[in-house]
Every structure is written in structure tokens, then in C-alpha cells.
């Protein structure tokens, strides 16, 4: 159990570090990945 907990903790810490080191998203990304295709159109309407 301790080994699993340590692995999970390490994975979380690695992900958190990656997030902290990553740039903030660009404003235009707000419309990304709401839908798969014809994304802009579905978001707009």
C-alpha cells in the first residue's frame, strides 16, 4: 500500500509541477475542445 501511495503521490506531484511550469492558455483557446468538429459553430450557436 505504501508503495502504491508513493507512486500516486509522485505522479500527482509531477503533474502539478508540469502544470505550474506550463504557460497560461491563450484567450482563443477558450473555444477549444467544447466540441469535436465544427467547433466554432457549435460554440457560437
Amino acid at each position: 500500500m505504501d508503495k502504491i501511495a508513493a507512486e500516486v503521490k509522485a505522479e500527482i506531484e509531477e503533474a502539478a509541477e508540469f502544470a505550474m511550469q506550463s504557460p497560461y492558455p491563450e484567450p482563443e483557446e477558450i473555444r477549444s475542445n467544447v466540441y469535436s468538429m465544427d467547433n466554432e459553430r457549435s460554440v457560437a450557436r
Binding site: 467544447v34 469535436s36 457549435s42 450557436r45
Partner: protein, 325 residues
Amino acid sequence: MSRIMTYGQAMREAFHEEMKRDGSVFIMGEDMGVMGSVFGLTKGFLEEFGPDRVIDTPISENGFTTMAVGAAVRGLRPIVEIMYIDFTALCLDGIANQAAKIRYMSGGQFKVPMVIRAPGGAGRGNAAQHSQSLEAWAAHVPGLKVIAPATPYDAKGLMKSAIRDDDPVMSIEHKLIYATKGEVPEEEYLIPLGKADIKRSGKDATVIAWSRQVLFALQAASELAEEGVDVEVVDLRTLVPLDIETIINSVKKTHHVVIAQEAVQRGGYAAEIAAQIIDGAFEYLDAPVKRVAGLNVVIPYSPAIEKYAFPNAQDIVNGIKEVLR
């Protein structure tokens, strides 16, 4: 070549063709297997496709809807029936917080290709908890697409597209149009999501409708034709994404607009369409946009008064006359 078939048969054919075509498509919901669905849409499917692809669920909407979300994320293509749209209240977390959000929250790493079918609507004496029209709930949630076909042809073509779509699609199906008949081609076809259809061309006024109200709108147009009024009927077919171009082009032609919805008027999708018409074609309007919609009441059980809760063809006639006055 085409055949005459009912809306329900056309939708059944869509399920059948897609399940034969793609082994990842499966059906899940209450009474979908042994009974073949309350509306008979999956009769014989259990025998043909087996219990792994035609799954009878317990009465547990949130449980099986959310299971379907997980299946979709893992690569399957579930078709889930919520027996009555009223019961989406029990599984809105699965629909609005899970299915609609996972693509966005995973940065596009996961997709949720599932269809959530929701028979709804009043007129069968099914009373307050089995008669609502709740498409506005679905249309309000980014991440969901919403279809509301009115004819057998559209039902089949849109359902096949919805099953193949990589986003969650909610299918709004009025219970009283499953038995209506129309032509359906024998050969395969798809209808793209987000494309309205002008069911009747006219120059004096536009009626915008979806689902059963399209049938009432066409009745109203026929009646008014005898009085020399030429009505255009725009069947949205898809609510999200909305085909605003077709709507605006019709408004520019007729200058008078009625939007017919069965749902209660307050907060309904007709209000959204009216707002978009104001944004895009205000200068072309010769009269205010008229909503012909359900009363802001609970659907009564009594047939004596249920009929007053939602609009019919005569209400649309009256609405058209009002905007043309």
C-alpha cells in the same frame, strides 16, 4: 426508391443499420431488450444482437447514463434511452456534468460519442411527470448537441449522423410522432447535424418549429393558403448547432416570424431564436417576433384541459394572423 414507414420504424432502421455497420454501437435503457422499448423501437434487437449490445437496465437513470459515458470514453458508442425526457432530471449529472464536459476538461484527450434519446411531449394523457418538453435544458449546456426531428426521413438520417458523431447528442423525440408516416429512401443516407430544412416555401410569413410543432405548422400553412396567405415553414431539425443562416434568410424574405414550441414559453428555446433574429435581422422585421408556445403551467392529466397546455395548428394560425395584422 423509397418506402412509406413510420417515424418509429425509421428510427429503428437507423439503430439497426448502425449496429450492423459498427460493432461498437450498443443500446442501453429501461425495457430496451426483452420488451423492445416502450415504443417498440428495438423489438427483436435482443435476439439479433444479444444481451451485450442490447442492455436492459434497472430503473436507475443516473447509473446507466453515467455508465454509458464511461463506455463512450473507452471507445464504444452507446445509444441510451431515457424512457421519458422528464427523467433526465435524474441523470443530469451524467449528461451535463460528465458527457458534456469530459472533452473540454481533458483538453481533447477523451471524446464522448454517445446518443441520449429522450421521448417527450404532451397529448397522451401521461400527466405532469411524463409529458414535458425539456429541450431547452439540453440546448443550454455547452458540449451537447441537440436534434429534434419531425419526420421519418429526418429521424433516420439525423439519428445515423448522431450515432457517428464524436460528441454527445441528445435526441428529442415527441411521443406522438412515432406513428406518423413518411417516405424514407431504401438506400443509405445521412443528414448532417446543424442543417435546417424548409418544409414549405412561402413569402408572407415564416414559422420556425421543431419536432411535433412542425406538423402543426404545416397544417396551419395549408389552412392559411386557402385564405391566400403564403407561409414558409422552417424545420430546425437540429437545435444545437443552430442553422441561423437559414432562419435569417427566411426572415429577410417574409419579414414576419412566428416561432412555435411545445415547451412552456418561459425560458424556452424559442426565446433564444427570437433573440438571434433580433441580433441578425432586426431591420428586416415588419412586426415583433411572435412566440406560440406552451402555457407556463404543469401539464394536466385531464384530457379536457391538457390540450390547452401546448399549442396546436390553430394557435399557429392565430399567431401568423397576429404578426400579419
